[in-house]
Symmetry: none
Subunit: 226 residues, 2 copies
DNA sequence: ATCTGGCTTTACGGGTTCTTTATGCCGGAG
DNA sequence: CTCCGGCATAAAGAACCCGTAAAGCCAGAT
């Protein structure tokens, strides 16, 4: 299993996909390509890239709309667009984009800006998160409690992993649901309760005192760091 | 004392210092100017800016040499240079610069990039606002008083967080209501009183002297920065 | 075909939080 | 002095949210 950063390239021109893709792979990154906004969103959910190179002129939606959605996942966004109007740059950056490069671009410069963006949004948190006697290994998708491996169902693991990715921070209901169940279920808060319950059953020693997965009423859940 | 971000502008051309300085100040920042690398370094130590706009062509030293020194302080660096060679950009970015803009530049774009850079370098630390013995961690959504965690209901936290986002400044009734209760309740000032009361109950030691959340009659509330 | 584990969906009791309304205090205006 | 606006306080019912339980459903395994 590789640990190289994964880059999602979104552009409707195949030539650009190829150009950027090969340059990035030569530089040691893994890459995913998407030609439409729809493709980009599913790739975002499934492949969990570390950064996105985003063209604004997509066939189905304006790339700008994607920026907040991508940033909500904590992923770096670099706009690569032919639009060079200042207003475009300003709105893109203010929507949360991490950088803005205009076409035609210099490949080496884009690579340097990718490095910078990855540095900024370093998801470089240690791959293994510890909380009490529970350890979550985010790369191997394994969970142990007091050293013994615990088997988790897909949604259970998704729930826990999403919390473990930002230990101690509150993850909102919507964030969890979007990450684990998908955009279609962002409102189904009940799922979270069920998942939390089964997780606590498996991971918490004392059923009466929730020491691992804590509830933030009306907002979301969070993992107790120590 | 103001809490607006402080920007250090380093350039040997007075015209540019003036241009950027006035633009930034119009945008609400505080600015410091430096014409040489030496001046820049002392300003860095004394004024503790939040970001540096750095020209590379300085009379005494090459601006590139300054980049690592500035980044060592955890301060954002945006290069603003006439050198547009790709190699320059790559080395600057790889030395740790957060962005690179070529002259002639568009002022609005530079402002947007300043905002982005500030966002990046602030995101690294978890943003904690202190007021007396109360600490508000805006990224983790946690509040402590004298080190002990205090649990806050959603509206309570929203109220406090809105104040903490601009410590010391008066937040109007309408602003608070819009931010926490939503557009539909911008007129329900009563809610604020109730929320303020329960917050004071939880956070203030002396019930008779409101030392944390102060009322600005007829206008709004503000957090005493301390 | 049957079983089983996992996911979805619905329901309910108990606790917390929000909203709403009423009351008293204070200071400035009339 | 009295009135009035703006405020803090208080309390109570409504609304909301949570954990828990359980039943139905689906798909893959047996």
């Amino acid at each position: 299993m590789s640990n190289e950063p994964k880059i999602l390239i979104v552009d409707d021109e195949r030539a650009i996909l190829r150009l950027l893709g090969s340059a990035l792979e030569r530089a040691g990154y893994r890459t995913i390509a998407a030609e439409t906004a729809r493709e980009a969103l599913t790739a975002l959910q499934i492949d969990k890239p570390d950064a996105v190179l985003l063209d604004l002129g997509l066939p189905d939606r304006d790339g700008l709309e994607l920026v907040p959605l991508i940033k909500a996942e904590g992923v770096a966004v670099i706009i690569v667009s032919a639009r060079e109007a200042t207003e475009q740059k300003v709105t893109a950056l203010d929507l949360g984009a991490d950088d803005y490069v205009t076409k035609p671009f210099d490949t080496e410069e884009v690579l340097a800006r990718v490095r910078t963006a990855l540095r900024h949004c370093r998801a470089a948190e240690s791959e293994i998160v510890t909380a009490g006697d529970v350890e979550v290994d985010l790369t191997r998708r394994r969970v142990t409690r007091a050293g013994d491996e615990v088997h988790l169902a897909p949604k259970e693991y998704g729930f826990l992993a999403e919390l473990a990715r930002h230990p101690g921070r509150v993850i909102t209901h919507a964030q969890l649901l979007r990450a684990v169940w998908g955009e279609a279920h962002v409102a189904d808060v009940e799922y979270l309760r069920v998942a939390a319950r089964s997780l606590r059953k498996k991971l918490e020693a004392d059923a009466s005192a929730p020491s691992l997965i804590r509830n933030e009423p009306g907002v979301g859940y969070r993992l107790i760091a120590r």
